[in-house]
């Protein structure tokens, strides 16, 4: 894959050795950006960033503060908090999308990044699904059943709706986990505001 197609992961971590380890693990699959403090992290952030790995305890801006700024800027990226303590649902309430407990292993890191990319994909699919369901309802209201069977647009909409139903149930295993469930609903709240 060329760089342009690969998802972008931003690592915000004040310990250089730890940050470098993450980069080595992720380098083959993603475009990796590095920042060694919260302030640097905010400088590196733009629309192209898909996932942020954010250390919670850093000198200067803390992870929580960086998260607030990210949400304030309305950036559409997923943020995993890296922490030394095992948290619970409170973390999701705070607005983080996931958490990782130190020390992190390579497969855990990959799994988390993939899961967060899956959530973005799910949100996009659900948005497209809604738009098509709305279009379907509009066409149904405007035309008779006989007209609909011959209507190319309507047939195409119906086909795409069926495809999307399949794609949605495969993405995130159809919202199999508690974390995916809560985070997906929180995202609906954020979009609504």
């Amino acid at each position: 894959m060329s760089d342009a197609d690969r998802p972008v992961v931003l690592i915000v971590e004040d310990e250089p050795d730890v940050a470098e380890t993450y980069r080595l693990w992720l380098d083959a699959d993603y475009v990796v950006r590095m920042a060694h403090s919260g302030d640097e992290g905010l400088d590196e952030l733009d629309e192209s960033v898909d996932v942020v790995l954010l250390d919670r305890m850093m000198p200067g801006l803390s992870g929580d503060e960086v998260l607030d700024r990210i949400r304030d800027r309305g950036l559409d990226c997923r943020v995993a908090m890296v922490t030394a303590v095992e948290p619970d649902f409170d973390i999701l309430e705070m607005g983080f999308d996931a958490y990782l407990c130190k020390p992190i292993k390579s497969d855990q890191l990959h799994e988390t990044v993939e899961n967060l990319l899956g959530r973005s994909e799910y949100d996009d699919l659900l948005q497209e699904y809604y738009s098509l369901v709305e279009k379907q309802a509009t066409l149904e209201a405007a035309k008779s059943n006989a007209e609909l069977t011959d209507n190319e647009e309507y047939v195409a909409v119906q086909e795409r709706i069926e495809e999307l139903q399949g794609d949605l149930s495969e993405t995130l295993n159809g919202i199999d986990s508690d974390e995916d469930f809560i985070a997906t609903l929180r995202e609906l709240n954020d979009l609504d505001e």
């Binding site: 649902f89 369901v133 309802a137 809560i182």
Partner: protein, 228 residues
């Protein structure tokens, strides 16, 4: 017909409403219950949940109108010897901050800040399902009353997505879900769109003073209207 093993369990929702297709509902099915105000939509859902509770299933009740204690009082009168450790209420009326409690009788109650607080809804349902599973309920029924209130707090798009995500979650939990909507409080387009997030729909109408219902989806063709 070949006999089915225990693993292919299904839900019998036909107690309060005798349609064949309701006697054998696949786990993960989600049904919209649509009808005018005061037509007994919530009562119908509660009766369907109560049938499950009588055989030890879990019940998760999400409310935007009645208080959790009112719901539990009503539920106790419906189910004799109710095992309340297998009942959870997600109370969305919005009386402050998110919190949870265990009632003296053992039911789990989660309070959400408002019907528009979808993060809270997610946490409440998750904790409710988890509690019921820990208390031995391997199957269960879910009811949300009502989507019409949710629609006054947020837009149609958000409610549609909420229904889809909730349905997916209930599907993975092996639950069956019932969601009420006031058929006269929204335009046709809204009902048409919301309907698409469900596997089936029970429609209730008033026909010259007689309450009638019919079933759409779940098993092909719509049924005829039947007095209920």
């Amino acid at each position: 017909m070949t006999s089915m093993s225990d693993s292919s369990m299904s839900y019998d929702l036909s107690g309060p409403l005798e349609f064949d297709a309701l006697a054998d509902v696949r786990p993960g099915s989600n049904i919209l219950v649509s009808g005018p105000a005061m037509s007994g939509k919530a009562g119908l859902c509660t009766a369907m949940l109560a049938d499950g509770s009588r055989s030890g299933e879990g019940a998760v009740i999400m409310t935007t109108g009645d208080r959790a204690d009112e719901i539990l009082d009503d539920y106790r009168t419906r189910v004799e010897d109710l095992d309340e450790s297998r009942v959870a209420v997600v109370d969305c009326r919005g009386d402050g901050s998110r919190s949870d409690e265990r009632t003296a009788e053992g039911a789990y109650v989660y309070h959400v800040t408002s019907p528009g607080d979808l993060t809270g809804v997610g946490i409440g349902i998750t904790k409710g399902l988890e509690t019921l599973a820990n208390n031995g309920a391997e199957e269960g029924r879910f009811a949300l009353d009502s989507l019409s209130t949710m629609l006054t707090y947020t837009d149609r798009k958000t409610v549609f997505k909420l229904c889809h995500v909730l349905s997916s979650r209930l599907d993975s939990a092996g639950y069956v879900g019932l969601f009420t909507i006031d058929s006269e409080a929204h335009d046709d387009q809204t009902i048409q769109v919301i309907k698409q997030a469900f596997d089936g729909m029970i429609e209730i109408r008033d026909n010259d003073g007689a309450r009638e219902a019919r079933l759409l989806g779940l098993a092909g063709q719509p049924t005829d209207w039947r007095e209920c």
